[in-house]
């Protein structure tokens, strides 16, 4: 079994897993970082979204073998005290219903705002298109992204 050195949330981790193991399952099964969620496994729902070198990526289709020099950020490492502007906005707007998709939503939104701190409503909807919320909390997700953009 090959061994992979990973940099996640500023810390170094070693994972002894097969080369094709998706980052999602390395995080969940091997490193105990379960904030990143399994939804569809085919990059169609966004529940598994993390940051790779600052960009939002779907970790369920990202083989661990391609991540040797990547800086990975998961929901657990988005902020030290859970007070990233996007997390604050999610609290203020009271977004979550079941909450399962929200880590992915927050990671997509925070990557968007890093690149585009003042997105239009259309740009928000376009970027968030890859994240499904089965509870239908889309109005509040959109509102929270807008609110977060005023805090960044």
């Amino acid at each position: 079994m090959p061994s992979y050195q990973l940099k996640i949330n500023g810390k170094s981790y070693t994972a002894d897993v097969a080369a094709d193991t998706p980052l999602l399952w390395v995080l969940r099964d091997h490193l105990g970082l379960v904030g990143t969620k399994y939804g569809c496994g085919i990059a169609s729902c966004g529940a598994c979204t993390v940051h790779m070198n600052g960009s939002a990526v779907k970790s369920c289709v990202l083989p661990v073998s391609g991540l040797s020099n990547a800086e990975i950020t998961t929901i657990e490492g988005l902020s030290e005290n859970g007070d990233h502007p996007v997390q604050q906005a999610w609290e203020e707007v009271d977004v979550a219903q079941c909450g399962y998709c929200q880590a992915g939503q927050i990671m997509t939104a925070s990557a968007l705002l890093k690149k585009n701190p003042n997105p239009t409503e259309q740009e928000i909807a376009q970027t968030m298109h890859g994240n499904i919320c089965r509870c239908g909390a889309y109005h509040r997700i959109r509102e929270a992204v807008k609110l977060a953009s005023t805090k960044i």
């Binding site: 399952w25 379960v34 496994g41 997390q87």
Partner: protein, 725 residues
Amino acid sequence: MTRSINKSRRDFLKITSLTAGGFMLGFNWLANEAKASAVVTKIAAGTDIGFNSYLSISTDGLITLFSPNPELGQNIMTSFPMVVAEELDADWSKVKVVQAALDTARFDRQSTGGSGAVPHSWKLLRTAGATARYMLVAAAAKKWNVDASECSTENSFVIHKASGKKLGYGELAQDACNIPIPEEVKLKDRKDFKLIGTAVKNVENSKIHTGKPLFGLDFYRDGMLHAMIQRPKAFGLKVKSVDAAEAKKMPGIIDVVTFGNNVAVVGKSTWEIMKARKTVKIEYEKDGNLESTSDHDKLFKTLLDTGTPTIQRKDGDVDAAFKNAAKVIKSEYQCPFLPHSPMEPMNFFAHVRADGIELVGPTQTPANARAAVSKLLNVPEEKISLQITRLGGGFGRRLKTDYVTEAAELSGIIKAPVKVTWMKEDDMTGGSYRPAVRYRFEAALDSKNNLIGYKLRGVGINAGNCTRQDNFPSGAVDNLLIESIEHISPITTGAWRAPITNFLAFAEQSFLDEVAFAVKKDPVQFRLDLLDRAKNNPVGDIKYDIDRMVGVIKLAAEKAEWGKKKGVSQGFSVYFSHRSYVAQVCEVKMEKGKPAVKKIYAAADCGEVINLSGARQQVMGGIVDGYGHAMFGKLSFTEGETDQKNYNSYRLIRMREIPEIEPHFVDNGIDPTGLGEPALPPTGGAVANAIFKATGTRIKNQPFNEHSVFTGKKLQSKMQGTKVN
């Protein structure tokens, strides 16, 4: 004493020690609502009080509440404690909520479904808070040597205004233990509510926002194995032979086990079992009909004509009414199957040991799940513990117990703790579905355009009674016949958020719109006239509250400025389901030759709104759910196998497709009547009726996006037309 009970007892003792010096109130949750007046057991600190505890106050003022019902996004973990805290006059910032494990001795109705939790527990929760408050006040009054009536409470303090004295609940908790328990307590007047009716944030927000382990899939334990199960790829097949030789050799694989029609790949990690599972060669043989959606389409039409219906309701003489009719309107509506597709794939943890069974995971019906495991493995229920995790959605899927029993069965076979995880594809192809249904409506009008006869016949696949015979307009029509026909199929069906009414409401409200247009009446006025008739001259039993229905109709019409707006086409719908009433107005504009749904107004009467933030979520989420599935939702079958496998072929609504939604609530002070489902059923009808107004075309089948008004293509199905005889 069993080990599982011991575990609960240990949990409980931990809590009592946290609250050393405090007191706990136990409520007899088995008492029915009528007997809800406080059956309270006084508890000395640290004493083992059994399994009947609900609320604790510690000497440091922290108030702990157990939330007995599974949380799947309906926000019960916030709204239940709000009710207790209201009557207790608790400092909300010092309330802690803990999800309780399944414990039928301590809690009543520990399930989530039917929009029933708050209506069921409203008085019990209030009594819980009010009783504790009474005892705290009495303790303070005794200490100060004043009359309890001179004391008031606020923010976890008892206050004696005349002397300026003030004591915190934590400081009073121990003395409160010595206060005789009141047999009856006075509940607050709603005008004095401070917390109820306000917008309070989800108590688990910070855990959700930081990725804490909350859900069933987040449950891991040292030594736990992982498993995935290959179920037959089509309904109507059974396993003939299994060749797992290759899989068993793969890294991380412990075993491949076949039980019934399940082939379980067991291993050390999720990815390893996912890969190994692909190599397992399974031969199937026929075990029933391999049904296709095209078969159902034909079958529905045949059964509506020639099937033997069950009469669900009959008023007056329907045959005579239709014989004497000046005009008959006939119309048919059909919907496909739908998967529940909760975001969190199905999963459960089970550990079958010699001395008992441990179950952990997301379930809407923990008691049923335990009972099913008990029956299957012949282990007494008291030897089975069930820890309820947060549910990443349910929508009715997690009312079923299949995914719990198979995890337990597998653990028993492999003699190890195991978490069974379903891939999204597993649930979409081998889960349980909203049944496909077709309805035929007929309306008889006399020469003055009065509705003198009404018939509804429904046919559904494993749907039981696919009608709701006492729905409006039952009670408002002299001659009425409601019938249902069931087709039994190998395809598994089950309750899907707002069972049956999630589609029936669309069909009924669309057909009423057809009749309103046929008699050239405003659709809102048409409904109000029928309700007026039902009120003044009811026909048979009326199971809905006419005044509440009229209330939401008028509120929705007022807020949407019904009939007064230019440049938009409005459609109307109103529905009573699960004890609550919701009316909706949808607004459609034509954009590039196609109808665009711009806005939906909703007026809801769910009685007392507990948490305004949660209530708005339920209405808006319910409408997005109803609209999204009406527009896009379709699960079809070819020879028993679903054509859709995952989110790339099964379409769910996404952010850029949502209309604006404006929810309103009727403020009438009625005890809460539930809100998890009632906002969903009316949406499809309001949308289709607005599309008719905009285009002159009636959409009668779901999903709407396959209709020519959206595709631009001519109708592919003859099912879409309306016949006016």
